[in-house]
């Protein structure tokens, strides 16, 4: 008797959308078992980990604040991923965007112009696109694998941030510590709800989701990208340019990541330091796939991801669990999602009577 994996003739569309929910459910069950094994009450654990981060206005606002850069990066990446353009370097594009936007803020310390913030976002978008353009060019010109080049450029971007905050952009009154001056008030994003930190960047992120949805579902270009991604040769026969797919996928990803960078430095941080992003560009890849590369899905997936981060903080404070607990949950989620996806496209067959 053998177990065999064979492709399903027609993957279920319904299951494609249900599988993230299934993955979340399995993650929760596994998590509860984990709490039990660690000697904590599963119900208490669930409450602390998943409900407490949504318990009051401030916490909910924090959830949206944390989800904002994830949303932005993920929606940009999803455009490329649909076209089989594998931009792994959103983290670096985010950093360069933050440098471009933040640099503008530092360059105009006394500007009273209401256009300063929009200009910072423009600069951030351009910075991110510039950083994404390098792997796009290497891919289209030399056929260099963008997975490698975009990832390597993350480290270059990190070093660039480090050099600037240790060197030319260092706060002259900051006792030599690696940080820039604080941004002036006109370069700080306005807060949406008094008493919280959720700011105008959320509006930008929601806007990006809407534009992303229109681009992917209603524009000819988006359609071309989808076709090229799903069936490259079909795309070529139809006369769709593979180069254009690469360029668009990379540039849109870079643009959104750059905006995310500005939303952090002009938002909750208010200056440039070496710690702009705790890995949003990488986490956004999980978000994009959990969200099924769809803007609506990404919206919920980024909130879920933010919840996992914040739940981990709560679990440390109230349950005395180590910080790795959030990583475990993130891993469980991704594992069950990929697992469910395997069974959407394939099925297990029992082979009887064959050797």
């Amino acid at each position: 008797m053998w177990l065999r994996i064979e492709p399903r003739p027609e993957p279920s569309r319904l299951m494609r959308y249900l599988s993230p929910l299934l993955a979340v459910a399995l993650m929760l069950i596994c998590g509860m078992v984990l709490f039990k094994v660690l000697g904590k009450s599963p119900v208490e654990g669930f409450k602390v980990f998943f409900l407490q981060p949504m318990a009051d206005r401030y916490s909910v606002a924090e959830l949206f604040l944390k989800a904002t850069p994830l949303m932005l990066c993920a929606v940009g990446l999803s455009v490329g991923f649909r076209g089989n353009v594998w931009n792994i370097g959103a983290e670096g594009q985010l950093l360069v965007g933050a440098l471009a936007g933040g640099g503008l803020a530092l360059h105009f310390p006394n500007s009273q112009s209401p256009f300063l913030l929009p200009a910072m976002f423009m600069a951030g978008a351009l910075g991110g696109m510039l950083w994404a353009a390098i792997p796009a060019w290497l891919r289209t010109r030399f056929n260099a694998n963008e997975i490698l080049t975009s990832l390597m450029l993350v480290y270059v971007a990190e070093l660039m941030v480090s050099w600037l905050v240790h060197g030319p952009w260092k706060d002259p009154d900051g006792f030599n510590f690696p940080q820039t001056r604080m941004f002036q008030s006109k370069a700080i994003l306005p807060v949406l709800v008094e008493g919280t930190r959720v700011n105008a960047a959320l509006v930008v992120a929601l806007g990006a989701l809407v534009v992303g949805w229109i681009f992917m579902n209603r524009s000819f270009l988006g359609y071309q990208m989808k076709v090229s991604g799903q069936a490259e040769r079909a795309g070529r026969y139809a006369g769709f340019s593979a180069r254009r797919t690469v360029w668009l996928g990379m540039l849109i990803g870079g643009c959104c990541a750059g905006l995310a960078g500005v939303s952090e430095v002009a938002g909750p941080i208010g200056q440039i330091t070496e710690h702009i992003s705790p890995g949003y560009g990488f986490a956004a890849m999980i978000v994009a796939f959990v969200g099924r590369l769809e803007p609506v899905g990404i919206f919920f997936a980024s909130l879920l991801m933010a919840l996992l981060y914040m739940g981990g903080e709560q679990a440390q404070q109230y349950l005395g669990l180590p910080y790795s607990i959030s990583k475990v949950f993130q891993g469980l989620l991704l594992f069950f999602l990929l697992g469910s996806d395997v069974f959407i496209h394939f099925r297990l067959r029992l082979d009887r009577g064959r050797k």
């Binding site: 604040l65 240790h166 060197g167 941080i269 710690h275 903080e313 440390q316 404070q317 180590p322 790795s324």
Partner: protein, 365 residues
């Protein structure tokens, strides 16, 4: 009768409450700690966590503590500090430089709570800062290195050229050259606080360049371990650890180390806050205050050197010896502190140069 009894009890309770012994709040004070890395078993955060445990023990029954580890120094810190307060903490210690602005913002929002930020420079009505004079221990390690080196070269694996790290390098150099004027110190920057791979590689590079006294200002035990391995090939190769006593990672080769001790400080300020006598904290404590100490000296350190170190340690504690007593000469030959003077705290805080005797050049800004 019953009533009489209870009123006597009440009276007794009242007397107890009035006596200073029972003046503490019956509900324990909650104290929160925010850590930049996982606690682990050695290093910066580990020492803070040891301090937390000591404080909890010293004030048993009067305090409860909690901590969140591995909190990124970006946007997340503010939320964690704030949630510690809304979760019931009266006092919060934030133990990394990058938490400065976040701590300040929350301190302003919660004027009835107390905040202490390690290694920063912003204070407030309810926000204190604290740090330790790690360079005092570095100086003594340098003296031992100067006495024990054969190659007259020391190697230093360092994270980032901020003042605190430069103070350590320069103090080590001053200490080493005070007993071995020929000595030079070579520095490799790894641009990371915690990167065992790079730290190890840097240590091996320094060893291959002839350095036989190796120390580090990074967070892992990699340097001490690398030296322990190479000690088999060169019996005069030794290391000095930092943050924690890492002798168990280098039983043969780790001579001593500058260890950080936060327990007494934590106990003291928490007591002050609970008693309502806290008047602001701007502590930069050294050996005198028990905030740093040399780890027990390895048996490989000869007795005369031990005696010398003990004597110098006493002089530092008594304020008779300052690692940056003049003349302090910069690498380029400029006199920074004239003979007869010592470097001031303000000058130490702005340190952005190497002293004479450091053979490497500082990365240019």
């Amino acid at each position: 009768m019953q009533r009489l009894k209870s009123s006597i009890t009440l009276l007794g309770l009242g007397l107890l409450a009035a006596s200073p012994l029972a003046a503490a709040d019956p509900a324990p004070t909650q104290v929160g700690f925010v850590y930049v890395s996982p606690v682990g078993d050695a290093g910066w955060t580990y020492q803070h966590d040891q301090g937390r445990k000591e404080m909890e023990k010293a004030l048993a029954g009067k305090v409860t503590t909690k901590f969140v580890e591995n909190v990124p120094e970006g946007a997340d810190a503010e939320r964690v500090v704030r949630q510690m307060i809304t979760g019931g903490a009266k006092i919060v210690f934030t133990t990394s430089f990058g938490y400065m602005n976040a701590t300040e913002k929350v301190a302003v929002a919660f004027p009835n709570n107390f905040f202490f930020h390690a290694t920063g420079y912003k204070t407030g009505k309810n926000m204190g800062i604290y740090n330790a004079r790690f360079y005092e221990g570095r100086y003594l390690c340098g003296v031992i290195a100067g006495k024990m080196t054969k190659s007259h070269i020391a190697g230093y694996v360092a994270a980032f050229p901020i003042p605190e790290v430069l103070q350590g390098i320069n103090a080590f150099t001053e200490g080493m050259r005070s007993v071995d004027p020929k000595a030079e110190v070579r520095v490799i920057w790894v641009n990371s606080w915690f990167d065992p791979g790079k730290e190890r590689e840097a240590a091996l590079t320094l060893i291959s360049q002839g350095a036989d006294m190796i120390t580090h200002h990074t967070d892992s035990t990699a340097v001490v371990q690398a030296v322990e391995e190479k000690h088999k090939e060169n019996a005069n190769l030794y290391s000095f650890s930092y943050h924690s006593d890492m002798s168990k990672y280098g039983p043969k080769s780790c001579l001593t180390g500058t260890t950080h001790l936060w327990g007494d400080f934590y106990t003291r300020v928490v007591k002050e806050v609970m008693a309502g006598t806290w008047k602001g904290t701007n502590v930069w404590g050294g050996m005198k205050d028990g905030m740093i100490k040399l780890a027990p000296l390895n048996a490989a350190v000869p007795a005369p050197v031990k005696t010398l170190v003990v004597k110098l340690e006493k002089e530092i504690i008594a304020g008779k010896l300052h690692p940056f007593d003049g003349p302090v000469i910069a690498q380029d030959g400029k006199e920074l502190v004239p003979k007869g003077k010592s470097m001031t705290d303000a000058e130490l805080g702005g340190m952005n140069y190497y002293v004479k005797g450091v053979a490497s050049t500082l990365p240019k800004n």
